[in-house]
């Protein structure tokens, strides 16, 4: 082989290997900064303390309020996106005509292309004032509006991944169900959805992972008050919002406050990493089911 071919292959290889360096970089950055954080704050305080006030004079470093805020907005988002997204997937698969499917699917994808800062604006200026008409005690910043809007953003993710899973179910199963006189609804929920369940679960896990890492919607609309609560009507703070909040301010490097964002970051990374790999594992385990 000529030398130039070797060099080119080497360069291409390098580009591919950079992706591994990115992963190593992420883990190294998160670990090295949080290790020096955990030399000051014990891991048990981090995990069990019920308050998060690193920017106050009376500093407390319990991650739980941020985790609770993150899970709360995520739960609201999934509660919106799962029923709607799954229904859309079933509807497009069993009920809608091919033409309608062709038109609706790209339109739904538009929902996923809108920048999240725009969704944040909607949540704050449209959804919250609208909901406040019905829920008098609702605060201007709250997990509910942010979660609902995030749910709308995630709908196309669940609907398109679930639809792929449902349409991958062999046609013969669907025909068997119809052949016995099932209605479309009975075919969907009795046969198709159970047969596609692993794919649907994967879509939901990826949606959860997406919601956990979402930043701008919650930073704009959910508030900046770390609070250990399940009440979706009051201001809370998510892990991601906290990182933004500190980044916006002027926190000196090597201060403990600066390191908190890496401790928060590694918590977030652990969550999403676990969720993503769980979804890969499920996908791999069940992929060959019908071959």
């Amino acid at each position: 082989m000529r030398v130039s071919e070797k060099i080119i292959e080497g360069l291409l290889w390098l580009s591919a290997v950079i992706t591994i360096l990115i992963t190593i970089g992420i883990i190294w950055v998160l670990l090295s900064e949080s290790i020096s954080f955990f030399q000051v704050v014990s891991l048990s305080e981090f995990l069990t303390e019920k308050e998060w006030t690193p920017l106050f004079a009376d500093k407390k470093f319990g991650i739980m309020p941020l985790v609770a805020g993150t899970l709360l907005t995520t739960a609201v988002a999934i509660a919106v996106a799962l029923p709607i997204g799954l229904t859309i997937a079933i509807y497009l698969n069993e009920y809608a005509h091919a033409r309608m499917k062709q038109i609706v699917k790209p339109l739904l994808e538009v929902l996923a292309t809108i920048p999240t800062v725009v969704y944040g604006f909607f949540a704050l200026t449209v959804v919250t004032p609208f909901l406040q008409q019905f829920i008098p005690g609702m605060a201007g910043f709250n997990a509910l509006s942010a979660g609902i809007v995030m749910g709308i953003m995630i709908i196309p993710m669940i609907s398109s991944l679930s639809e792929d899973a449902i349409s991958a179910v062999p046609r013969s199963l669907r025909e068997a169900a119809y052949g016995m006189g099932s209605t479309r609804l009975q075919t969907s929920f009795g046969v198709m959805v159970p047969a596609a369940s692993s794919g649907i679960v994967v879509s939901v896990i990826l949606a959860i992972s997406r919601a956990v890492g979402e930043t701008m919607i919650v930073a704009i609309a959910a508030g900046q008050q770390p609070r250990l609560t399940l009440n979706p009507l009051v201001p809370i703070e998510t892990i991601t919002t906290y990182i933004v909040q500190v980044s916006m301010g002027d926190v000196p490097r090597d201060s403990l406050e600066y390191k908190t964002i890496f401790a928060a970051g590694i918590t977030l990374f652990v969550f999403t990493f676990a969720l993503n790999n769980l979804s890969f594992w499920i996908k791999k385990k069940y992929q060959e089911k019908y071959d």
Partner: protein
Amino acid sequence: MTNSEKNRLKDKAFQVFGIFCTFIGLVVLAIFLFDIVIEGVKRIDWDFLTSLPSRRASRAGILTAWVGTLWILVLTTLIAFPLGVAAGVYLEEYGKKNRLSSFLEINIANLAGVPSIIYGLLGLEIFVRQMRLGGSLLAGALTLSLLILPIIIVTTREAIKSVPRSIRDGSFALGASKWQTVWFQVLPASFGGILTGIILALSRAVGEAAPLIVIGALAYVPFTPSSPMDEFTVLPIQIFNWTSRPQEAFLNNAAAAIIVLLIITFMLNGIAVYLRNRQQRKIKW
């Protein structure tokens, strides 16, 4: 009512619910867009596009923001395009089916699922601090490049995969080397698909605010950047900044800036969809 009648009724009811769900997202989207246009369109004029930011809402403009977005777009393309395509080519054409390549695959899938704000932390430590680039355009573009790299790699691979074996065989049979085959046959044949993927990735990058906030992009920049080492802001950050102010007038500014941002995003997506359709029509293997 017989059981069959009940079943049919439920079936119909679900059909109605299905239509409702399918359109609720779109209706909400329409309401949002309508609201934005109502609030923002009266603020959009030449002055708004060519004015620097200001403490007074009525005098503030988005000049620095959209110029910053444009800079970021160009720099990110220059960095991420060659890197992502090269990695995609390696994985699809050169990589052997061994442990390394399956590890690379899992790794890329994982990177695609890492929240954007984590990339911000990576950029903050590596580019801003270690490489001493500060909160510059270059640091921002490098950070966003890493963020969209997985998207570009995945779409490049799909595009290359759709080039049939016979093209490669034909090229090899004429005595072409591996790289010649890739450069003269495979890449031109898959270029439309690759381009589509890159544009979609860029439209994602244009809307990102979180990682850039973390690396220290500022909300208030009183000048337009003139080199990659300058400090900068981008449209999403400007929108975020205006949205978090209590005065109504700034919300109108935010809405106006959103219109501009959405036009850019939709245009990029439109081009991508157009390219994809044209590609699908042009080539029938």
